[in-house]
Symmetry: C2
Subunit: 328 residues, 2 copies
């Protein structure tokens, strides 16, 4: 019998989880839960139901793991603790400053309900966190660097769209190659925000909008753009649809560390991702951790877990024996 998955929400990430489930024979999508009118939503998994989130409690014995596809700003801080009391859950909470608080809330709820709640799963936080942590433990004397891109930042794209006169926009985060190369060469540079990434903006302006004003507002926007070298390209709606429809992303985590009685030897560890689709890769990571949530719960574990607390074998559909034989 397969592990029965439910998904709350049906945005890009939820659809990424949906397609990932089709790649894992031991997982099956049972239902998508929505705040909207279910009749207005058509999903791609014929066998799965579309249900109002108000009816979710009735699904407790029909769902093994509930994936929360919502956003970190407002959805997950409420939803993950709420549903962790009723279901094993997995979310992709990525508001770094609030992870401690989120962990505590999910942990209390999951323990109360006797469930497992896995938070902050994806690639960063997620795969990148895993490799930062393992590299830090293996080379305790060293320095971590994380570069993102080249890829689309949804948050920065949205920030541009909120500017008056902007019809649509896409923002690419781009690592500064010279800085990456210096880290790869083991030079351990001290890098400012500006030295690590640049920002490329593709903007569709409304009829008769003041382009100079838009460009100035973007480049001076605090937190989002002011600390970066930002370039703004005004393009047509057709160009945006044609050349910027996808959501590619990626990046790399590097650790440079030393060993030896005199710390005379240097080592560089690099983990990199080149992703055609950010939400589909994130959804694939979540699918593997949904499997882990089910197995850990079946063993009687409860409470909130992060990627650091989960033995890798829980992620794979393969048996321990097969893993040792084929991948060790």
């Amino acid at each position: 019998m397969s592990i029965r998955i439910g998904i709350v929400g049906y945005g890009n990430l939820s659809r990424g989880v949906e397609s990932a489930i089709t790649q894992n024979e031991d997982l099956s999508l049972e239902a998508v839960f929505t705040r909207r009118d279910p009749s207005g939503i058509s999903i791609r998994t014929a066998s799965a139901a579309v249900v109002s989130v108000d009816e979710i409690e009735a699904w407790q014995d029909k769902i093994d793991v509930l994936v929360l596809g919502g956003g970190s700003a407002t959805d997950l801080p409420m939803q993950t603790p709420k549903y962790a009391e009723l279901f094993n859950v997995v979310d992709s909470f990525d508001t770094h400053a609030r992870i401690g608080e989120h962990f505590a809330n999910v942990d209390a709820a999951a323990k109360k309900g006797g469930k497992v709640g896995i938070i902050s799963i994806g690639w960063d936080p997620g795969m990148f966190s895993l490799f930062r942590m393992v590299s830090d433990a293996v080379l305790p004397e060293g320095k971590n660097y994380t570069f993102w891109g080249r890829g689309v930042s949804q948050g920065h794209s949205d920030a541009i769209r909120r500017i008056e006169g902007v019809k649509d926009a896409r923002q690419y985060t781009v690592p500064v190659k010279e800085s990456v190369d210096r880290v790869r060469e083991g030079k351990n540079p001290e890098l400012t925000t500006r030295a690590m990434h640049t920002r490329e903006c593709y903007v569709v302006a409304k009829e008769g909008a003041d382009l100079a004003k838009i460009e100035k507002e973007i480049k001076e926007m605090p937190n989002y753009f002011a600390d970066y070298d930002t370039t703004v390209h005004f393009i047509s709606e057709e160009e945006l649809k044609r050349d910027h429809a996808g959501l590619p992303h990626g990046g790399f985590v590097l650790r440079s560390g030393v060993t030896g009685m005199e710390r005379e030897n240097q080592h560089i560890i690099e983990y990199s991702l080149k992703l055609d689709s950010n939400p589909e890769f994130t959804g694939s990571v979540i699918a593997a951790y949904a499997r882990a949530a089910y197995r850990m719960s079946a063993e009687g574990q409860t409470g909130c877990k992060t990627i650091f607390d989960i033995a890798p074998a829980y992620l794979s559909a393969k048996s321990a024996d097969e893993l040792r034989h084929s991948l060790l």
Copy 2:
């Protein structure tokens, strides 16, 4: 109180573990156990004892984790099961074809003694295995590639030294850049042994030896060199000492996989290592897993574990809270 480590043997790997222990405040080296005359061995840790391996049983209550620094051919198949009954142990067993058998032997012994035995720790098997397994679970439809080098292969260097007329030798395994690039570009090539690596040999010949004959013997040696494009350079003993004294190594594991309802999106994951010292990096990985062995044993776990069975948090000296705050 720190975690008390013992090491069996004092070769390159054991010395790598010794220096790694000096980089981890919660670990302390208590003793090195040797089959030779202890008085003939001087180690670099003043506070640690050098003891005959015949007296090792007397150290059961003075050692928390025993690291086995021996080789996979003859030492570890005997030593790891033998000592897993008496101590929590970590080894770097790397004879892939015999891992199943070794696991079973260590598992039985460790369970009998109520200890934890962690096998096949290092970078391959080890970090590379972890990466291969996690990538395989996250992108179930894809292809793995493992490239080694540029680095010194001890086994191949030894094979050359056994040839008549050879005084000393160093063999470098070198990945074929064109093949690596094709994998990085997502072309999923089918690669032969020859297409993945070349072999560079630096050989010091004895006075009056037949160089042509040595070169022919190397290039035609089955398993080691026959299937590779091999280059042989004859150099002086001085050159060998001057230019080839170190034991650098490294390599990269790549996974290329697809996602999407139509499998229309491609993703490339790469994990790479650039190591100045193979034994010191391996020793650093072993030190982190020695910490894990101690903690898992303290929790009452027993039996044989591989890198797949161990939650990452066990590897770090940092608290779970600190890990979530600083590395998630």
